[in-house]
Structure formats: C-alpha cells, structure tokens
Amino acid sequence: MSRILLGRNTGLGIREKVYETADAIEVDTTDQYELSRKRVLFEDIVLVTYHREVGGGYVGAHVLIATVFLFIAAATAAAQGGWLGALIVGAFAVPSIVAILVRTLLQVDVISVYSRRARAKIRFTFRKELAREVYGRICAKARQTQRKIEEENRALEPEPEPLPDAETLPPSVTSPSA
C-alpha cells in the first residue's frame, strides 16, 4: 500500500509531512535538506487528541513584522511629511495583518497522536472537515489494529484444560421430615 498524505505540521522551526501507511503513521521531518522518518505504529497508540488553537508564536511573529513596518511608515510620514512613502512602506504590513486576521478568525485545528514511543502532529488551517475525517480515521485504524492484536493474543493463549468429570455425588440424604 502506498502512503497517503494526511497533512502537514509546519511551524517556525519545523517542517513535517504526515502520511498514513497500512500499519503506522509516518512522519517525514525535513531539517535543512535532510529528511528523517519516524513511525507511530497504530498498535502502539495511547492517545489521539483534537483541539483548536490560535497559535501564539505565529500571531506574535506577524504582529512583530506588522509593527516594524508600521513604525517605519509612521517614521517616514513624520520625517518627510509625505504620505506616499509612508503608504508604500505601510503596505508591507498588510500581508501580516491579513495573516493575523485569518488566523484569529479561522484558528488552526490540531490533531496529536501519542503512542508509547513516538508522537505525530497534524495541523489544518482551512480544511476543518478533513481534519475531523482524519481524526476519525486515525482513531478507527488504531482501534481496528489493536482489536486484531487482542484477537491474535487470544488465539495464542493455550486452551484451558477441560474440567475433570464430576464425580457422581452420593444420593442426597434428605433430612427426614419430622
């Protein structure tokens, strides 16, 4: 079975692609130009979580960028008195302001998968329905795999020895009625 791309986990210092395979979730982490792979086995999954967050780091970085450009624009306007230069510099802050607004309104849906040995994270900014679907799919796959192992374990257990034939009890002695 080829891998199915479930989603990505991209942040300020992280670039990950998360795939689904037959028996595990594979996380490809790109560090500069090096690619390393990690597997979160379905049979090992302990907890799958879903939450929605704004992302303080992302918003903070864009606030900083927007502030710098707006500050330069204000300084340009104050120094030269011309609005054209200030507007041009200020325009560079617009993408950051839009990014802050979009993030604040939509937020980002995060799926975290924790196993006994590794973890994976997937972020969805726009496709909320897909995020729900992926969350359900991971849970279903983990449940299915773990149930299969339980069945295999049960099959491996030795069958209990049959009970010895019950000895025929002596005829019950009923207490004579008074």
Partner: protein, 209 residues
C-alpha cells in the same frame, strides 16, 4: 560541572508518553481518557480518544515441542526453534530475537551494529532532493537576470529527477502540483535563461541593434 553537550542533552527530553497538546504538560494515567479533557496545568480543554494498546504476545516454539526434524535452532537461544533468519547476516533466529522494524527481520547484534553505523533504514537521514530542487528553482528566478538562469535551471532539473526517484522509492506519487511547477520553472530557467544570456552577450558584442 556539565559540558555544553551534556546540558543540551538535558534540555532535549526524550519522549516518554502523552502530553497535553496545548501546553506540553506530561499527562498522567488519570488524564488519559476518552472525551473532553481539561488539562490540569493550563486549564484548557481538548478532545481525546484513549486506547489501551495490548502487548503483542509472541509464540516461542521450543525445539523440544516442535521436534528435531525440520526445526532449526535459534543462534542465541539453544532451546528455541528458529522462525526466520536475519536478513543481514543470515543467522537463524527465534521469535524472541526477531527485531523487525518494518524493514525485514534483523537479529539483535545486527540491529545494534546497523544502528551504530546509521545504516538502519528507519534511523537513516536521507538528503531531501525535492527541497533542493525547489530551492534551486526559486534562487534561479532571482538570479536569472544575472545570466545564471541556465545554471540554476540545470541544477533544479537534476535535483528534481533525483527527488522524483526518491519519492517513487517511498511509494508516493512523484507528479504532484508542486513537482510539476518546479519542472516548469526549471525548463523556463534553462530555455528562457539561455535565450536571455545569448541576447545579452550579442548586445554586449554590438551585434544586436
């Protein structure tokens, strides 16, 4: 006195189980449950589905029970019957010694050796040629005006071809939208850049009026 490497090792904690997805607080067994969970540390909610992963039981067949006929003995456990052989050294190994990390059965000594050498496929870091192709294409777009378009176009094409091979080896589709975009940019850089360079050289030589 700790060395800087030791300090670094102390900062990077090994993964040891589920955390709160919001604040990374270590969740104890009481907090690993299905439903809406409120983190005791950050006091914020998250939806959770908990599992109790079963330990996989392994049937270790003993030579005495399997019978000596047709039963190979495990190289590490004289009493156990071998179930497979190591894909690296060929030793017969029992179910107990079978360390399969998704790349075939490996015996414990080969596993240790491969991990130390860094040749264990799951522990190996590979070069991401696709990312290099993307970078070459982007840089080429900027430096195309400095007669370097064909150079970066060629680099992007080479890395893209290697990246495609790598992606195909992983079992993925090498022709996604990003890959096609990189290819188109590389061809434009190579073809368009060559024409641009020739025109610039001709004009510098005064042959273009």
């Amino acid at each position: 006195m700790l060395t800087s490497a030791q300090k670094k090792r102390q900062i990077v904690q090994p993964y040891d189980g589920p955390y709160c997805p919001r604040c990374n607080w270590k969740l104890t067994a009481d907090w690993i449950r299905t439903g809406t969970v409120r983190c005791p540390d950050c006091n914020r909610d998250f939806e959770a589905t908990a599992f109790k992963p079963p330990e996989r039981k392994v049937r270790i067949a003993q030579v005495a029970t399997v019978g000596p006929d047709g039963a190979n003995v495990c190289a590490n456990h004289a009493r156990n019957a071998a179930t497979t052989s190591c894909t690296r050294c060929g030793l017969f190994i029992c179910a107990l010694c079978d360390l399969n990390v998704g790349t075939g059965s490996i015996c414990p000594s080969c596993f240790d050796r491969a991990r130390t050498e860094g040749s264990l496929p799951t522990a190996t870091k590979t070069r991401d040629y696709y990312a290099q192709a993307k970078m070459a294409a982007i840089v080429g777009l900027f430096f195309g005006f400095f007669l370097l378009g064909p150079l970066f176009g060629t680099l992007a094409l080479i890395y893209q071809a290697k990246g495609r091979k790598q992606i195909r080896a992983h079992g993925d589709d090498p022709w996604d939208a990003g890959s096609i975009t990189v290819l188109v940019i590389a061809i434009i850089l190579l073809g368009g850049g060559a024409i641009y360079d020739v025109l610039i050289i001709l004009s510098m030589m005064g042959k273009l009026h």
